[in-house]
Symmetry: C2
Subunit: 344 residues, 2 copies
């Protein structure tokens, strides 16, 4: 595949889509009427549980969704087991549930099947997808478009960011705070625009140092655990390293620290791994607080604490892209991966 302005260099698509995120986020925010309608329908249902289903990056975003719903409307949200419903055919009462199916393409087979079954059992089902004509969109009661524009690199970036944004916006709407969250997201788009270039510079210097590292951990807790999962996934996908996401409890490269209630645990975990000889890259809006980190990739302070993952995932994306480049790999088309998760 080549671009209009000449042949593609490896990693160009992925980097281009990372850079495009501030604009992609604004496109999502253009859909206020659609988001208002869905959140109104969700409030009317007043669900006992919000069930989030997705694979890969969508599942990492779902980890964040658990916090967005827990902290904004105070609703119970969970990453539901797809196999329980789709493969084991468990007879769980879903009539009291809202289901949110997450899939970039909208064609992940078992997510589509889950949503189809859940709708049949009376759940209110919402698709959040970049594929508005997809099987998932057809299967669900309502669809919210990610509106990220076509994503061509196999590793997701802008669709992940917009999935986070869609989830927190819906959760905000469920708490009747949708306007405030949209306002915050607009501010995040500005912050991303302003910080991307300098961040890109800092990251490429850091990444070179890790070209021969075979094992990495990405530590994040609470609202940043989804970010840690997504960054670990990017590193695994694009750089072929064994990257594992850890909560600060598990316990050592790369903690993501937000200035929130989870910070003490992340700082403690980082201190432990530094003592054990690991090289630490600190990121997040509290990155400066991590003593002894070899590299620091700070990100702006979000307008609202719950929005911090939208800013803190970006250094991780850029790091994965730069590290793939340093290793001579093509981040756009990782060997053995395809864009649509054919999970069964």
């Amino acid at each position: 595949m080549s671009q209009a302005n000449g042949p593609r260099s490896p990693g160009d698509l992925f980097l281009g889509e990372i850079r495009e995120q501030p604009q992609a986020l604004l496109r999502l925010l253009d859909q206020q009427a659609e988001f208002d309608a869905v959140t109104k329908a969700m409030r009317e249902r007043s669900p006992s549980v919000v069930r989030l289903v997705g694979h890969g990056s969508s599942d990492a975003a779902a980890s964040f969704g658990v916090y967005a719903f827990g902290l904004l409307p105070g609703w119970t949200a969970m990453r539901d087991s797809i196999s329980l419903t789709v493969y084991y055919d468990a007879k769980i009462d879903l009539s009291d549930s809202v289901v949110i199916g997450l899939s970039q393409s909208g064609e992940t087979p078992d997510v589509v099947e889950y949503v189809t079954r859940a709708r049949g059992r009376g759940a209110f089902t919402v698709a959040i997808t970049n594929g508005t004509d997809s099987s998932l969109a057809t299967a669900a009661d309502a669809t919210l478009a990610l509106a990220a524009g076509p994503e061509r690199a196999v590793a997701a970036s802008k669709t992940f960011l917009n999935t986070l944004a869609a989830l927190v916006w819906v959760a905000g709407g469920a708490a009747e705070r949708g306007r405030e969250i949209a306002e915050g997201l607009r501010r995040v788009s500005d912050q991303l625009s302003q910080s991307l270039e300098s961040l890109e510079q800092s990251v490429s210097n850091v990444a070179m140092a890790f070209a021969y590292v075979g094992r990495m951990y990405v530590i994040g807790r609470g609202i940043e655990f989804g970010t840690a999962r997504e960054v670990a996934l990017k590193l695994t996908e694009t750089c072929r390293v064994a990257a594992e996401p850890l909560t600060a409890t598990d316990l050592a490269h790369g903690p993501i620290a937000s200035r929130d209630e989870s910070l003490p645990a992340v700082l403690e975990a980082a201190a432990r791994v530094i003592e054990a000889g690991a090289t630490v890259v600190a990121s997040g809006n509290a990155a400066m607080r991590l003593q002894g980190a070899a590299y620091v990739l700070p990100v702006p302070e979000p307008p609202h604490p719950i929005l911090s993952p939208l800013l803190s995932v970006v250094p991780g994306q850029l790091f994965a892209g730069a590290l793939a480049h340093a290793k001579g790999l093509d981040a756009d088309y990782p060997v053995g991966l395809s864009k649509v998760t054919r999970a069964r």
Copy 2:
């Protein structure tokens, strides 16, 4: 620490506790009146959600609990976020919930704190613990004793098996099938007694071949995903290998296959990793179905499909013990670990 019959050899405690599991399981089953009383109270509550909380092996057991509750009474169970309630202080309505706190020692600080808060907010709280005089037992409305007897090796074995058993027995009771499940568990105890010795022989031959392998994956899906998590944790704790649990969807050493609805996905994942050059150890009651596995560690067919993890975890425990021995490590006291998870 030394044993009555002379000085301890490295790994003796862990192996002794693995061997003791058939008897430990029978001790759990002696508590029918206590289990009946708790499941009756749970049914009366008819909860919208069962919230399972624990760290490490207890959290792996919780992964199984999600399936036990989903498949037996058809209840929604989830591994709840401890940080959402304990650190972020999210205002989630818990009055409609049953909470099950899982901790071998009963002293894991944030599990105790979670249960205390949940009880204060009206949840019906149950402690499942080996520490019947522990902080967790004191904090909860009701306590179910694991009755595994003192566990001295740092890596859990018999307390994990009894936690699985307690969860499936409680779930069975919630479905008014407690007697049937207890009967099945009694049969599992027999099967373990009969198979342990020959399994121990086969495993020690297999483990030698892996003494220099640095990275392992343990693949399991559905009801066996908790088993995969626990076996990966044992390998990480006792053998210092980077072992990662994967669902069959993620994707390549060591699949655990149950003859159930998840089998096709596990077989497919195994075929993929064999093609990619991985050495595969197949275990579980459908181990013989994995074509091309280098080693096969079959386990008996359980009396009821939901009980299969109690049988399939044992080869993994034995493998971890034998591999630690092959590597000259002490499985009883892994460096850097302590028996009580001091998670915060």
